[in-house]
């Protein structure tokens, strides 16, 4: 199983029945593939739909129905189409139960940087800042290191997305929960040890009790 699939399968366990969830583009969007078939969840795409469905069959796409990455999608029964003011009102107003986003860095405080690398990549924040500031739970789904360079760091060197402690960090090696006391190592993947995780993390991790083995959907 590749690292991204493992991350998506672990994040899938965080999706609560009856909730409204926003999945970011890329890895986070894979989470939808690993939910039980009839789970009672609505996905929001911030460009304007609650009740995002799977990709339509080839040749049957509706040009007016895309996700926030511009890819063609469908809408599930019970879906609602909304404008951007309603969409971000839902996000900012505390009506979104969970968002899953990728990350460039997360630091000791649980703060996320995921929208720019000064001098290199300035795509714009899109909806990321509103999502991190406004969602009830923020789950960061990312590979543990950038080609060996730790992404979980003492303090983000990259510009922050929001001054808010994220709820959970899920990587292919570990599940880490940012708390008031710091980053607590909750779970470790079956093919990693606690020492492997500590070596791949430059932030301090709290290992109070032996972490559980990471489970997957």
């Amino acid at each position: 199983m590749n690292p991204k699939e493992r991350i998506a399968r672990r994040v899938a366990l965080e999706v609560q029945p009856g909730s409204l969830v926003n999945l970011g583009i890329g890895l986070p969007s894979m989470v939808a593939n690993y939910l039980p078939e009839h789970v009672d969840v609505f996905f929001q795409a911030e460009n304007g739909v609650i009740g995002l469905g799977a990709r339509p069959p080839e040749g049957m796409e509706d040009p007016n129905l895309t996700d926030a990455g511009g890819g063609f999608v469908t809408a599930v029964p019970g879906a609602a189409s909304i404008d951007s003011a309603m969409s971000f009102g839902i996000i900012r107003g505390g009506h979104l139960d969970m968002t899953v986003l990728g990350g460039l860095q997360v630091d000791q405080r649980g703060y996320l940087a995921n929208w720019m690398v000064p001098g290199k990549m300035v795509p714009g924040m899109g909806g990321a800042m509103d999502l991190v500031a406004g969602a009830k739970r923020v789950v960061v789904a990312m590979v543990h290191t950038a080609k060996g360079t730790p992404k979980i760091v003492p303090e983000c060197a990259l510009p922050l997305t929001a001054e808010r402690r994220v709820s959970l960090i899920v990587t292919e090696m570990a599940v880490i929960e940012p708390t008031e006391k710091g980053l607590v190592l909750r779970e470790v993947a079956s093919d990693s040890s606690v020492d492997d995780v500590l070596a791949a993390t430059s932030a301090e991790l709290i290992v109070d009790e032996p972490p559980a083995e990471m489970t997957l959907a």
Partner: protein, 218 residues
């Protein structure tokens, strides 16, 4: 009852240097015929307020390609390398605004508010130069209203009085922008007689629309 005008005639109303609010999200729900007409008319030095600059060759991306945009106020340019190149070379000024803040700034401009207070952007580069306001112990940024000279909207259907109906994710910024410009030009896919769009289905009342673009050619 109003008269529909051609996209070319509408482009004639828009001078160089105008500030345009343009609906759409990655080109979905963008007034594509109006954009083509602006390019055909050789409009330049435009300030464009929109969610994004789409991709090269598509919707607002076409205006980028011909160098018609002097300043873009947008939330995302990641799918348009031409915008990034023009930003780096200094040909285009780009103001990046969080998407939810952008739509509320436009809404504020349209509904007569002096600004909005949002926690989005606190602790990030977005807060630079902005006034912070504390309300009930929580910090917010004061974000100022945005208004345009023209709003260019795309709609699914319009009726003869200009009432608009939108489809699925093609709503996006269109209904909000309808309030926030001096002159509002709507480009519907089709135009239907009065009564076909029931009052409950009208998202943008026709009284807000100044000009209706003719239906798409068959």
């Amino acid at each position: 009852m109003r008269e529909a005008i051609s996209a070319a005639a509408a482009a004639e109303l828009i001078p160089d240097g105008s500030t345009l609010l343009i609906g759409g999200f990655m080109g979905v729900g963008s007034p594509l015929r109006m954009i083509d007409a602006l390019i055909e008319a050789g409009r330049k030095d435009l300030t464009v307020v929109a969610n994004d600059t789409a991709m090269p060759g598509r919707a607002i991306g076409k205006l980028v390609s011909v160098g018609a945009i002097r300043k873009a106020i947008v939330s995302h340019i990641g799918l348009n390398p031409e915008t990034q190149a023009q930003m780096i070379s200094g040909e285009m000024e780009v103001e990046l605004v969080p998407q939810g803040t952008l739509v509320e700034r436009i809404r504020a401009g349209g509904v007569g508010l002096g600004g909005v207070l949002t926690a989005t952007g606190i602790g990030t580069p977005v807060e630079e130069g902005k006034q912070k306001v504390e309300v009930n112990g929580k910090s917010y940024l004061l974000e100022l209203p945005i208004k345009g000279d023209f709003a260019l909207l795309a709609a699914n259907r319009a009726d003869y009085v200009g009432n608009l109906e939108f489809s699925l994710t093609a709503h996006n910024f269109n209904p909000v922008m309808a309030l926030a410009a001096e002159t509002v030009i709507a480009e519907p896919t089709s135009i239907v007689p009065i009564g076909v769009i029931p009052p409950d289905a009208v998202k943008t009342p026709g009284v807000l629309i100044d000009h209706l673009i003719e239906r798409a050619p068959v």
